[in-house]
Every structure is written in C-alpha cells, then in structure tokens.
Symmetry: C2
Subunit: 254 residues, 2 copies
DNA sequence: AAGTGGTCTAGACCACTAC
DNA sequence: TAGTGGTCTAGACCACTTA
C-alpha cells in the first residue's frame, strides 16, 4: 500500500494523515494500542520517515495519537481521567479543579427532534437514547446534564450499564461502543431556572443558570452526542478554553 | 550570534524559538514587519534551516508569526479585523458572526483593586485606566464591557484617543502602545442584571446575563488587560473555543 | 529572474524503554 | 542489546510573489 494518488492537494503527509485517520475509523488499531513504528509506516506508505513524522505530528497535536519515546506511537484514549478536564470545564471560583460525583437521573428511548437530528446528522424522528445526569462538586449539585445519542451508534445501551460504568462517560463510550470523542463545540447562554432545575440544583426558581449546548465529535468530525448542561454558577465558573497557546512545557512546567 | 548555550533542555529549536520571542518582545521587528528569511536565521543562529523551521512552526501555531509563501515570515498583528473573532466570541443564535458597533460610555483614571492588581501583575492601588464600552449587533446593544489596563503600559491613554481609534481595540493597543495581545483566558458565570446594566442593555432588572471575566496576555504571558463583559444572551450566544482541533483546511475549506 | 516559504528525502546521532 | 521516537542536518525540488 503506497500513497501515489497525489491528485488533489498532492501533499504526501496529508495523504498519510488521512490514511491513518481512515485506519483509525476502521478500527485497524483500537484505543490504547500501538500503531506501527515510523519506519514501518514509511515503508508501508512508500514515503520517508520525516514525512511520516509530519503526518503523525498533526494527529498528535489533535490529541488523536500519543507518542512515547522508546515505546511507540499509540491511539489516544480516555484513560484514568487524564484528559477529563479537556471536556469538563466547570471549576470553583478559586479555580480549583475537582472531579464531579455523577448520578443518573433518568434514561429513556425517544425520537430525535428536528434540531437534535440536525446536530447529530441523523433523520428527524430517528431513535435516540436520552438520559440525564446530576453532577456534584464537594457534595453540592452544581450541574444537570441532559444527553442525547443516536441509537444505531450506541445500540444496546441500558440504564444499568450507564449506572454501573466504572469510569467517565467518554471512557465508557470508548470501551463499550468504540466511540472515541476527539473534540467538542459549545455554545453558552444565561437562562433562568425553571421549577424542575431549581429543585435539582437547590436554587430558587428564577435563579440565573449557565446553559451549555454541546456537540461532541469523533474522528473526522462525526457528531456522536448532543448535551445540554445547566450550571449553577453561584460558586463555580466555566473556564473558557483559553486562547493562550504557548504550551506549558515552554514555561518550565513538566 | 550563534546558539550554543545548550545548557538546559539542549534543544536548538527551543533556543531559537526563545531567541525569536525575546527579539519580538524587544521590538527588533514590529507588528506586520517581516523577520529575516529562514536561510538568514539559520546562519545567524548557526543551525540548519530545518531546525529554524521547527522553531517558526511553533510560533506560527501560536499565532505569533505568520508565513506567506514567496513573501516571507511576518510578525502577526491585528489588522483589518482578520483575527477579530478569535477574541470576540458572541454570535447570533443562528451562528452568524457580525462585527459589533462600539460606543465608549465612560473613561477614568483609578486605583487598582486588590483582585485586579493580582490579575494584572501590578501593585494594589497602582494607577490604572478604566473605561467602559457598549457593543451593539444589528442595532441592538447586547454587551457591556468594563475594561482595566495598567497606566505605565498605556501611558497617555485618553478618552479622545479611544473614541477616535480607527479600528478594533486590540489593533489600537498594538499600533499606539505596541502591545500585541496574543491570547486570552476567560471565566463565565450567569448573573442577574442590576439597574444600570438593565438600562444599558434594554432588559428588565433581574434578567439573566452572561458575565465574562477576561484577562488578555501579550508575549511571554504578560497580562495586559482585565475585562468584565455582561452579555444579553436572549438572541446571542457565546461560542466556546472548540476543542475541535482538526484544522479547517483538512476538511476542504480554504 | 531572484528570493521566499513549502515539501520531501535519506540519512545521522541521541534519549528512552524493554528484555 | 534491539527497537522506538526525538532532534538535527544538508541538501533537492516545487510553488509562489515581486520586480
């Protein structure tokens, strides 16, 4: 398998990158597994190591691959909450990051509304799973999540499986359904607590809440989850993904 | 000037990168100017072109330098609002990005509060300039900014200069004070409109508002501005900097 | 035509990990 | 010791811009 179809774009490292992405999407290697060495990939693609490295560089920058010097290059996966705070951005006003305690509130099968279907890239009225979580920090419930996923991709999802999952939700997606969340897009608004949310969050009806609409994507920007979160920001804040781009290791932090 | 002090870290491209950053901070080249060609930098630093490219690669990824094939490599600057939406993240609920109409509401000299001083890295009670803007989209005021900057860095800032600036605020910082904003950090909360904000935003007192606390940074993470924004999210949303990292040009968008 | 950045090569040597 | 990724070199050739 060489890469000589340099028709459009004609950049070998882009071709190699997309070949790797396609192989990942086809589960040629699963989360946590090593991909072939740079030398082997260079032979396989019929290009030089430097070009393979450039392709891998981009995939590493996108958190899709992970390199370990002396060991190999691995398919990134959500493990032991290492990347947890990349997607969980609610912190204490002081800035302290804590892991939330999650409780499943509801679980049901339903039909996708038009807007959800559009976001998930499925037909309106297609079957979806829909469930709700409450998240507590330091013993206080600060956030309610309403989550919707397409049934075909998560076929066989049950309330018990969700309730008994040993790790984070995205870890669960990955281990059970081989759905690896690579990125999210979020839109934020200020809203007012209705009676349901007020009761769940222990605030008075009419209290201001931060509402976050999230779409989570997997390889090649395939949408896999829609989520609407309501946050009580009395004692917590949403940490905007900073535009501070200088990597921390440049500032002496290992 | 060669780079042979490979004491700590010992990576030539990191040394080159920091040498470039130091030269930028010292204004060896100003915003929009070209830096020397890769070949010249390689000679100057006594390293190979490939290594210079790796240093520049990182600075380009951090929006500090901009490459133009056939032309040269330039010091990034805010020009003609090209990077405007990197820092202005309020969009219509449909997702349409519009440029706001800005109006200066107030301007004064004041003493830094303890919290502002901490964020700006200055002494409490140090002199600061403090001003306020209203931002309108499609004719409606949707956002009020309260902005604080340290006096020494912006010495001589006047109300008239602010009011008559021809372009964006960060453009103005750069052209007049040689302060180039490279990144921001934001924290978001849901609040309630007080009477002042309610009047300015044309909502009823008690309406929910999105409050954004921003710290803007220049080269080497020096804080240069603190800003508190209040947004009426009835018809607009805050676009969270997405964790979607695949560059758009990989998806066929030029 | 001359100069620039963009891509690609075919190595070398080093640092790290596992056995 | 063998294999991996990490850094670096010294070019080649291409695409692009300006003159």
């Amino acid at each position: 398998m060489t890469i000589d179809n340099l028709g459009i774009g004609g950049k070998r490292y882009k071709e190699a990158k997309h070949a790797l992405l396609a192989a990942l999407a086809a589960q040629e290697w699963k989360g946590g597994e090593a991909i072939p060495s740079e030398r082997r990939l260079a032979e396989r693609f019929g290009i030089s190591i430097g070009t393979v490295r450039k392709a891998i560089d981009e995939l590493v920058a996108e958190n899709i691959l992970v390199r370990h010097q002396g060991l190999g290059t691995f398919v990134a996966h959500h493990q032991r909450d290492r990347h947890f705070f990349r997607f969980f951005r609610v912190v204490g006003v002081g800035g302290d990051k804590r892991y939330p305690t999650v409780e499943l509130l509801s679980f049901e099968q339903a039909k996708a509304s038009a807007s959800v279907a559009r976001l998930l890239g499925i037909e309106a009225n297609a079957t979806v799973y829909q469930f709700s979580n409450s998240l507590a920090l330091e013993g206080e419930v600060v956030m309610i999540d309403r989550i919707i996923v397409a049934e075909p991709r998560f076929r066989g999802l049950t309330e018990d499986a969700l309730r008994e999952r040993p790790s984070t939700l995205y870890n669960f997606y990955q281990d059970v359904f081989h759905v690896y969340v690579t990125g999210i897009e979020e839109r934020l608004r200020a809203t007012i607590a209705d009676h349901t949310l007020a009761a769940l969050l222990d605030v008075s009806a009419g209290a201001p809440l931060l509402e976050i609409q999230r779409v989570a994507y997997s390889y090649q920007q395939v949408p896999v989850e829609v989520r609407i979160s309501s946050v009580n920001t009395a004692k917590h804040e949403y940490l905007g993904a900073s535009t501070l781009t200088t990597p921390s290791y440049d500032r002496g932090v290992p």
